[in-house]
């Protein structure tokens, strides 16, 4: 479990101090995939970098499985960092080492004999699907492949936590999806806690179970992804969930319509039949105002905004019906007038 308690980080710059984080409190359970989302400059990178003490907190504590990271000496910290590894937006591979030696690198640092390190690295390359690229140099790989190498490298020391700082931001949507799929399978198979930093809603919707919304250095909302995204309470959260803003043309269109936000969080349903079934079984016609869902593995991820007419009863029924499907959260959207 990772407990971030009252974390504050102030940078001193020549033109005054910048409060990058203010009194941030987040608890991340073991085995979770936790998203931290926010606009550029919100303090996301600062926050992850505080978790492994690449950045020293100005105030507050970071507890990883009860250990206060701030109190570790240099040697203990280096050992702790082998259990909290990290992947980055720009992959940060060693460009003068081939793929295999990149994956061996953290093992080399920990003093594992070469032959053993090599064996393990090859195994990891198999997990990320790059066993045939072992002797190639990073410059000869695509971005997605480089990120896979970085993931293999991050897994080499058998970490308990994987920090991902904008790990998919430099990748196209298809590659992003495949990397997120890989991260999810690692989380499931190896039980590694994953923390994903991103500015993209779709990334959180796709893989995260819990999310914290960071705005201007403070956590404005946190909780279950479905809950937070279906009922964004704060202006900052609404900005992320409805990027079109409060003047959303869809919402402004029909005053009789009420909106339900449906979040698919890995259930076995496919989105379209679900809406069709709603019409057939309950006789409720839903107007899909916005949809961003995708199938990953055998689950559906993403969210939808349904416009429903016909008063409270219909809405209640629709929500109940949708909620019955595993992995689906449906809630009425409170739209400000």
């Amino acid at each position: 479990m990772i407990e971030i308690k009252n974390l504050t980080k102030t940078y001193k710059t020549p033109d005054g101090s910048v409060e990058a984080l203010k009194d941030v409190c987040i608890t991340i359970p073991d085995g979770d995939i936790f998203g931290i989302i926010g606009m550029s400059g919100a303090g996301k990178s600062t926050l992850v970098r505080c978790i492994n003490m690449l950045e020293r907190p100005t105030e507050g504590t970071i507890l990883v499985d009860g250990t206060d990271m701030g109190l570790l000496d240099k040697k203990q910290l280096r050992a702790a960092r082998r259990k909290i590894t990290m992947i980055f937006q720009n992959f940060n591979l060693l460009m003068q080492r081939n793929v295999l030696k990149n994956v061996c690198f953290p093992l080399e640092l920990s003093g594992l004999p070469k032959a053993e390190a090599k064996e393990k690295a090859l195994e990891l390359l198999k997990i990320v699907g790059l066993e045939d690229k072992a002797n190639v140099f990073p410059a000869q790989l695509s971005g997605g492949q480089q990120q896979r190498v970085a993931i293999a490298r991050a897994l080499a020391t058998e970490p308990e936590v994987l920090l991902c700082d904008e790990a998919t931001s430099a990748l196209d949507p298809n590659t992003t999806r495949s990397i997120l799929e890989l991260i999810r399978s690692i989380n499931e198979k190896l039980g590694i806690t994953v923390i994903i930093i991103t500015h993209q809603m779709s990334v959180v919707e796709t893989v995260c179970r819990h999310v914290a919304i960071l705005d201007n250095g403070t956590v404005v909302e946190q909780g279950d992804v479905g809950e937070v995204f279906s009922k964004p309470k704060t202006p900052a959260a609404r900005r992320l969930v409805f990027p079109e803003g409060d003047t959303d043309p869809v919402i402004a269109r029909d005053s009789d319509e009420t909106f339900i936000r449906v979040v698919f969080n890995g259930g076995h349903a496919t989105s379209t039949p679900l809406i069709a079934q709603l019409a057939i079984e309950k006789g409720i016609a839903a107007n899909i105002s916005y949809a961003s869902t995708r199938n990953i593995g055998d689950g559906v991820y993403g969210s939808m905004l349904l416009g429903i007419t016909g008063g409270r009863e219909n809405i209640q029924q629709a929500i109940e019906y949708l909620q019955k499907t595993p992995g689906v959260v449906a809630e009425e959207v409170i739209v400000r007038v």
Binding site: N92, M95, Q96, F105, A139, Q140
Partner: protein, 237 residues
Amino acid sequence: MFNNLLSGEAWSEALRILRLEFPAAVWETFYVTLLASLFAFLIGLPLGVLLVAGDKDGVLPLPAWLMRTLGVIINLLRSIPFLILMVLVFPITRAIVGTVVGTPATVVPLVIAAFPFVARLSESSIREIDPNIIEAAQSMGASPLQIIFKVMIPESIPSLISNATIAVTTILGYSAMSGVIGGGGLGKIAMNYGYYRYKYLVMIFAVILLILLVQLFQTFGTKLAIRSDKRLKNRSE
């Protein structure tokens, strides 16, 4: 003064000197250059690493006064013209080699003149590394020494080789200059025949050979730098 430059007599004499004296001179210049480069690197490269790693936010922060002293010494040595430096370090040369004339003796001032230059070149090579890569290594629990030896130096090898080539060709130039005050090699021949005895043809031969040596080092160095760089795509290995 140039009237006897191309006379048959001048040619035959120059060719005789070329045959008799040049092979040894080329060899002397060659080995003095390489030997001085080697020592200059043994001192300069670690200093270059220190200049980067010892920074306030480097991987191995050193006291600010130490870094400042280091910087001042390097700049000072670099600003003294080589000919003057050579004379200035006579005592050191005498202490190490036992004499201040002759080929081995020129190695000392060459090293003293070149290592600050090499330190700055190495520093700039190492600074080219993406700081994110160093941070990634730190995030994996690398110690400062591991970062220096497993990341900073290996990742900057191609650039270090390019800069080493520049250093070697510069040292070659200095070594020729050392002919003025007792050094051996091509510089000495150019001085002795060209300057003191007005045998310009011999001097021109010496200059041509120096140019060829520079070309040789440069071509070899550039090739090596390119070959060593794994960042280049489309390589076959």
